[in-house]
């Protein structure tokens, strides 16, 4: 056998995947169909000719713009709050950790409308904290800030849970190495913990943003519904549904397109990922 000369102009073959059992692929295809079929039903149900008018109506555009702003703000807050919270839950051992972990997940399990009631009792004009804020002249009732607060409240659990499980499964080897190279805890956090947490952050951001974008019950109960100020896309969609369910489905398509865009961006991976 002669030695073949090296080929340089060819994309290198990747390391091989360990493979997936074929029965798992069958189930995956079935499960995929379970998602795709309703999605097709949705597309089939849309009256395409009505779409342009529906989507460019003043109220729809207002709602869309409001939703984008509030969901982005809520996601940003969830990152700022969620990362430290997940760190503390995953890597410290204070008493009451399990309790804290459960409390963080409460907004996930209570119906959103109840979340709205609870938020009112805490941050409303007569609420535990709201009253103090009111005295200081800060009134968030019926403002866009209330929308962001509601969205943050219901979506933070996704961020925290996702990040915590990633931190727990990745261990602290690299952090220890960094400290032994003289790096402070603060610097280690920024240069080691956070970059290595990337896959967790991506999935956390996707879940959080999606949940914030779809939030309805807590928003309407706590923040109200006024065009341009508090009426986000889901509220607009619900209102549209009263008169015309097809319009509701069509408006949902916009939400879906945004979600698809966000997901595509979030999952975009650099060419040479580290494993």
């Amino acid at each position: 056998m002669t030695i073949t000369k090296p080929v340089n102009n060819v994309r290198p073959r990747p390391t091989l995947s360990a493979g997936i059992p074929s029965s798992a692929i069958v189930v995956a295809v079935l499960a995929g169909a379970f998602f795709v079929l309703p999605f097709i039903a949705l597309l089939a149900g849309i009256t395409w000719s009505d779409l342009p008018e529906l989507l460019t109506s003043r109220s729809a555009l207002d709602a869309l713009w409001l939703s984008l702003r509030t969901a982005s703000a809520a996601t940003a807050i969830c990152i700022v709050f969620g990362v430290p919270l997940a760190l503390v839950l995953a890597r410290s051992n204070f008493p009451g950790r399990t309790l804290m972990r459960s409390v963080v997940l409460v907004p996930l399990v209570i119906p959103p409308v109840v979340a709205g009631i609870v938020l009112t009792e805490a941050f409303g004009r007569r609420g535990l904290i709201g009253e103090q804020l009111s005295a200081l002249g800060i009134d968030i009732a019926f403002t866009t800030a209330a929308v962001v607060l509601a969205q943050t409240f219901v979506s933070l659990p996704f961020m925290v849970t996702t990040l915590e499980s990633h931190l727990a499964s990745s261990g602290e080897h690299y952090e220890r190495v960094a400290l032994s190279l003289g790096s402070s805890k603060w610097r280690t956090f920024w240069t080691v913990t956070l970059p290595l947490l990337r896959p967790g952050l991506v999935s956390g951001v996707v879940l959080t943003f999606a949940r914030a974008l779809g939030e309805f019950g807590a928003t309407i109960t706590f923040a109200g519904s006024l065009q341009g100020t508090t009426r986000t896309m889901p509220l607009e969609i619900y209102l549209a549904r009263e008169a015309d369910p097809d319009a509701a489905v069509a408006l949902s398509l916009v939400l879906i397109l945004i979600a698809v865009l966000v997901i595509a961006v979030a999952y975009f991976r650099p060419k040479h990922p580290h494993r």
Partner: protein
């Protein structure tokens, strides 16, 4: 062995991006020492043989079975036997003991292939292996509760216990202490007697003690 064509291993591999290009053969039942400087392609060669990495161009044949045949880097290979059908035991440079299994369960993992049936028979066999590598009594430990050299020995036992036709060992003795190294070397001499083996090592002692032949990889710059 007379007929190298039909028995033993023949290899010819090119991985362009890593500047690796090797071609050699190992007669059935012999031990080939694969030596060369760091980065010359020893691990790359073993990975290709184990089925973890597809070479750009290459072909390998073991005891008459074609393991893979990749004539063209731009096309799918003519033949590509998946890793678990090759009958090859590969001790990688990082041992990768299963973190969720105890030492004894790690050793038992490959015994399916070794045709040892029955849970009790397997466990007995695994305990025997633990004894042979000087770690009797350590069976219940999880990998992270073992020292570097202890883990390395369990990994050696795991590969050998799986009854491979071809054994690929990437620096098996690197982490071992002055007493264990010769002991394990003796163990290998005994166990590997009838097997076809590729041994990667940087140590003359290993070559002298274990190898029938040596293949030097000369790096291309």
């Amino acid at each position: 062995m007379t007929s190298m064509q039909h028995s033993g291993l023949t290899v010819d591999i090119t991985v362009a991006q890593r500047k690796v290009n090797v071609a050699f053969s190992v007669p059935h039942g012999e031990v080939l020492a694969l030596v060369g400087p760091n980065g010359s392609g020893k691990t790359t060669t073993l990975m290709a043989l184990a089925g973890w990495l597809m070479p750009d161009v290459g072909k390998a044949k073991l005891d008459g079975t074609v393991l893979f045949d990749c004539p063209d880097p731009t096309r799918k290979p003519h033949k590509w036997l998946p890793a678990h059908q090759r009958g090859i035991g590969y001790l990688s440079q990082d041992h990768h003991l299963f973190p969720h299994l105890s030492a004894v369960d790690n050793i038992m993992y490959g015994m399916d292939r070794a045709d040892i049936t029955g849970r009790r028979a397997r466990r007995a066999k695994a305990e025997e292996w633990l004894d042979r590598i000087g770690l009797a009594g350590y069976g219940k430990r999880k990998p992270h509760q073992l020292s570097g050299g202890q883990a390395q020995r369990v990994a050696i036992a795991r590969v050998l216990a799986s009854g491979p036709r071809l054994v690929l060992l990437d620096e098996p003795l690197a982490a071992l202490d002055v007493k264990a190294a010769p002991a394990i070397r003796n163990l290998l001499t005994e166990v590997l007697r009838d097997l076809t083996v590729i041994l990667v090592t940087h140590h003359q002692d290993d070559i002298v003690a274990l190898a029938d032949e040596v293949y030097h990889i000369i790096p291309q710059r």
